[in-house]
Symmetry: C2
Subunit: 195 residues, 2 copies
Amino acid sequence: MSALDALISHISRLPGIGKKSATRIAYYLLEHDREIATRLAESIATLHDRVELCTECGRYTEQQPCDVCSDPSRDHRTICVVERAQDAEVIEQSGEFSGLYHVLGGVLSPIDGIGPGELRVSELFDRIGRLGVTEVILATNPSVEGDTTALYLVKMLQERGISCSRLALGLPVGGDLEYADRLTLARSLRGRTRY
Amino acid sequence: MSALDALISHISRLPGIGKKSATRIAYYLLEHDREIATRLAESIATLHDRVELCTECGRYTEQQPCDVCSDPSRDHRTICVVERAQDAEVIEQSGEFSGLYHVLGGVLSPIDGIGPGELRVSELFDRIGRLGVTEVILATNPSVEGDTTALYLVKMLQERGISCSRLALGLPVGGDLEYADRLTLARSLRGRTRY
């Protein structure tokens, strides 16, 4: 296989990139300064050496523990539970949350053989005990698996007297009623906020 | 800047990739086997060392001259002129052309200061003389610049008694009249083929 075909094949395995986009990117790298390709390659090559999982919360970090876990100004008694590391970044960017995170590393899925043992559930309860956590926000995705996983955790959390909540479901900001799906609209009505 | 942010910024500079896609790709590389990132990085890093321009036709190649120029079974008296190296690959994939290629490296564009001297025009006429080329297919893009460039070359080629042609304009195969734009439909009518 030629160097160009090999690169196109590597790129087209990335998420959201088909053969055409991969070809375009490969030619872009060829046509432009060698420096662009060199920097990109280096950045990809050193990624796994520089970034690791925070031993506390499971976010990606370059220091142990991560900047959130080691920040004394954050509320260490509130934990937001997310499925994947990148979900924590999305919530962080909203600027609405000042507690700590806990990455589960997935959701319960009996079909795929993923039970509580495959997720970072015992680590969550270990942290809750250690930090004296009083509130847990369940921010798993609003999917069947996400809901099931949240419900599973809520039961165990409530037994320990910990306050639990789930992200609100409803219309997206700037959205249009016309384009909302039936289920979202139903949830948005059920969860309406009073003036 | 963190390693992850740096990578996301490098990736989002690639064509057709925005911030969201870049983030998704960066996390994909982090979440998956280190091997995937290593192979991709290597492939990008060695690209410029392995691939160069064919000194004859200007296509990207790993040998001099390229596989098309060095293939004796191809018609060395017919040359297909294209704007960019990747255009030659697209025509090659159609399986309809058995001659040689010539990459111009762009199109005439006085506004951008690109005249015949900036393109591989003298190289084209050098090859035409050397190979005894009798037919030239002008496969520049059906744009104003592409048309102008083709017309410029046609004049010079016809003066030398060389047969010239241009790619046909018309409806795409499998296309729908309803979705064809007015200009394409007009050209498709004007260039209708008789039974």
